[in-house]
């Protein structure tokens, strides 16, 4: 068995025996700065704008709906099953399709869509990142296949940064098979280091903070 052989080689190399507990690991290093909500929102918007992301602060679900309706007019749109989108009335827009539970059908719809709409479980103020956790409410491909991604983020979900995220979620694997951090539109600079957006993922990202 290669497994036993390799583990044995590793133990021999390290001079350890089977079942030997490890030495004490270095203490975890997580520092959460004290940043008030308004400053976190501002920092998030500023960071995302710098990455060419478009942002909007809405003061009511109606304002979110207005933004979405304008963006989606005449487009093919797939929305996730997030309750936030339903509360804002986004899933009732005429050209928005939602409520997918079958992977193949969802994939087909996303591949043909112009816009994908999701919520975000968290956002990171210092880097302008969205955090999306796969669940029955959020699929993976809606934020990935369509060329435009619109995300709705409740303002209370905007954290300071990575350290706070991993303090709240010490082990994301316990609740999901996939957590993704999205920081701006898809990009490449593989040819002559010239920046091109939208190489495989969305070229445009819109975030509405509610």
């Amino acid at each position: 068995m290669p497994r036993e052989k390799i583990l044995h080689k590793v133990r021999t190399a390290l001079g350890r025996s089977s079942g030997q507990p490890p030495a004490a690991p270095p203490p975890v290093r997580l520092r959460i700065p004290d940043v008030p909500l308004d400053a976190r929102i501002e920092s998030f918007i500023c960071a995302l704008n710098k990455l060419n992301g478009k942002t909007c602060v809405a003061h009511s679900p109606q304002e979110v709906l207005d933004y979405a309706a304008q963006l989606c007019e005449g487009k093919r749109v797939v929305a996730s099953n997030s309750p936030v989108l339903r509360e804002c009335g986004i899933v009732e827009l005429p050209n928005v399709r939602s409520n997918y539970t079958d992977a193949d059908k969802l994939r087909e719809a996303c591949a043909a869509a112009d816009i994908g709409i999701t919520s975000a479980d968290y956002a990171l103020g210092d880097t302008g990142s969205l955090v999306i956790i796969a669940s029955p409410r959020e699929a993976r491909l809606i934020s990935l296949l369509p060329p435009v991604h619109l995300a709705i983020v409740p303002r209370s979900r905007i954290l300071t940064g990575l350290d706070e995220l991993f303090t709240l979620l010490p082990n994301p694997a316990e609740q999901t098979s996939s957590m993704v951090l999205i920081t701006g539109p898809s990009r490449t600079a593989d040819i002559e280091q010239i920046l091109v957006r939208g190489v495989h993922g969305p070229r445009e990202i819109h975030v509405v903070v509610l």
Binding site: N81, A111, L124, G161, L162, N171, S177, L181, T183, H200
Partner: protein, 481 residues
Amino acid sequence: MSKAATTEPSKFRQTLEDANLQLAVYTATGRLMEKRREAVAADVLPEYQELRTQAHEIKKHTLDNLDYYLELFEEHVTAHGGKVVYCKDGSEVADFVLRLAKERGARLIVKSKSMTTEEIDLNERLAHHQLESVETDLGEYILQLAHQRPYHIVAPALHLTRYDVANIFTEKLGVENETVIEKQTMIARGVLRQKFLQADIGISGANFLVADSGAVVIVENEGNARLTTSAPRIHIAVAGMEKMIARAQDLPVFLKLLGRSATGQPLTVYTSFLSGPRREGEVDGPEEFYVVLLDNGRTRLLADREKRQSLYCIRCGACLNHCPVYRKVGGHNYPWVYSGPIGAVITPQYMGVGKDPWLPFASSLCGACYEVCPVKINIPKLLLDLRSEVTKFKAKERGGWAERMVFRLWAWVMRHPRIYEMMGSMAAAFFPEGEKPGWLRSVPSFMNIGPLKGWLSQRDLPRPASKSFRQHWRSRRKGGR
């Protein structure tokens, strides 16, 4: 195929004389240096040095106890419905993929960027058995079409211009000659989008393996790794087992360092934390999830307490960008897929010091690589250790005797100041300082023999001064000039 080519001096000269290539590499690495410098500056990231120390400590701890963390990782992957596969080398990895593909009737594989799969030539091994495996990172895709290996760990096609890409696309894809970079990118997007939607298996690498979660963490900018790991029915992550870190809570330390050191980004566009196949109720994602843990010589590196730290590398490429040698000779003159300072350190350890004995010497020991390494690998120290190993190896092989004699003689002369001075004045008499001081430019024929010839073919000697330092010193102390 160019992949296995060993390095010959003529290739070095070709690179040095290629003005376009020199400019391309110098500009690209220079830009990456600048971006990194801005991203880790003290006013932007005051905790930078602290993060480096912490990253080093975590890697040290995890690798010092790697057997424990491998088993912990496996336990969690299994608990989440995935499977861990241990492989001792590339042929075992290929066998595993081929067997799985056959069992599942898979015909097309999409791949995201992975130095580990480059290391074991996975695509070629699969192609050998008529299994198509398509690279989807833009740079890697271009290189796969052109049958070249990556030029740089992070920017694989750094050496190609838009005109090169236009030719490659025209020849391999049969498209019209297109030299606008944005349009070239969209051509690739179109071709690869179809592959993503048709593929049965996605093979990715891993930037980190998280032991306490059984998770594979992948960072990228394009979204191709997300597609590779989300769209096909089966996801296989191939990773060197040194990619392990102990806890998910250690990730912020590494994520803050990796993007900044590589491209100056505080975070890359996508960071995926993947733990197992799609779960009950989740709408999409792979149905099967495998993590292939590769040895391929890593246990050998692990056994050396001092050099074990070369396994801490998180492949940011900063040492390449900052290396005066890499910036001149480029990525294809190194004997293996890993180039630059880190390549010079790990290649001899994987391949044996006797294979390319010149490699640890291809460094000015300026220390820039150590200074910018986000996990504080002491590369110059490791290069010196390897040099000593090469010398011992040569002695054992009874090679290099002439060099040893010369250095023994040199050491003897240096310990005898009078003889040293005598030889100095002899040399000065032999090469009188003419109208043009400076370099000899051509050495006299009696020196152009044996090992000296080889040595002098790449170097020149300064013309000896007519009056030596010691003579100056003596006359000054007497009060003269």
